[in-house]
């Protein structure tokens, strides 16, 4: 069994209203050094596959087809 850990975030330049609001809240709390806040998704997948190369291809396909919307999001993943 392999574990894939996937992080989906908005592409640079795409407005993140949640991130903006959290940044505003942090500044209100007194954290003055915050440059930017971006919020994304963290997804864990357990998957049966022992072939590392095939596995990477499959996870990449899963991200591309469903987990991320390439219009607005980018993703990265690691496999353990």
């Amino acid at each position: 069994m392999a574990h894939a850990k996937i992080i989906v975030t908005l592409k640079d330049g795409v407005l993140d209203p949640q991130g903006k609001t959290v940044k505003f809240a942090l500044e209100k709390m007194g954290y003055k050094n915050i440059e930017d806040v971006r919020i994304g998704k963290y997804i864990e997948i357990e998957i049966k596959n022992n072939n590392r190369e095939k596995l990477e291809k499959e996870i990449d396909e899963i991200c591309d087809k469903l987990l991320a919307n390439p219009n607005i999001e980018k993703y990265k993943f690691s496999i353990e």
């Binding site: 209203p17 469903l66 987990l67 919307n69 219009n71």
Partner: protein, 232 residues
Amino acid sequence: MKAGVIVFPGSNCDADCMWALQDILGVNTEYIWHENKNIKKYDLIVIPGGFSYGDYLRCGAIARFAKVMESIQEFSSKKNKFILGICNGFQILLEAGLLPGAMLMNKTLKFICRYVNIVTENNMTPFTGKMKKGQVLRIPIAHNEGNYYCDETTLNNLIKNDCVVFRYSDENGSVNDNTNPNGALYNIAGIINKDGNILGMMPHPERAMIKELGSTDGRLIFESVIKYIKNN
């Protein structure tokens, strides 16, 4: 003519769309369950609003893989076949790649449910034939993710090809940041594909069908496409 309203788990405007088409406008209309692939008999298919599959992951992301959506791709490529995606239906069309772009969370981070004004930018489409260019419609929105986004090239193509059909405006049709409820790029409220047979819009025309609901402007959209289908 025959119309169909797709029903996904979590659709909640399906009955309103059925009411608008069948009870108000007298169109023979059926529900289409999301597992049904046989949709050839319909002339107009409405993808209604709601929270298909709980809006999990992203709005419309899971619905686009429903069986009916495989047939929708083929259906959309046929002549004189029309698709109207409303709210969640618009989001599904974007996720399916039938229309360009994506929806972000409203800039206010709030679910917005109120009447808005939208100006008709293109009255030459099958869905807008009964309007005048620049005509303002009063139709409600009800969404949390209606902040339309696409890259610059896509936006330029949408504008160049007259694919921006509706923009959020004031009651006189003037468009600016103050008339933008959700932060949508270019105040986009509705877009159409180049072939002119797939319209996606965030406002709910099915909720503006009788004066008791506050507006009858939603009728114009349904009546336009019905007239177009009957004349072709």
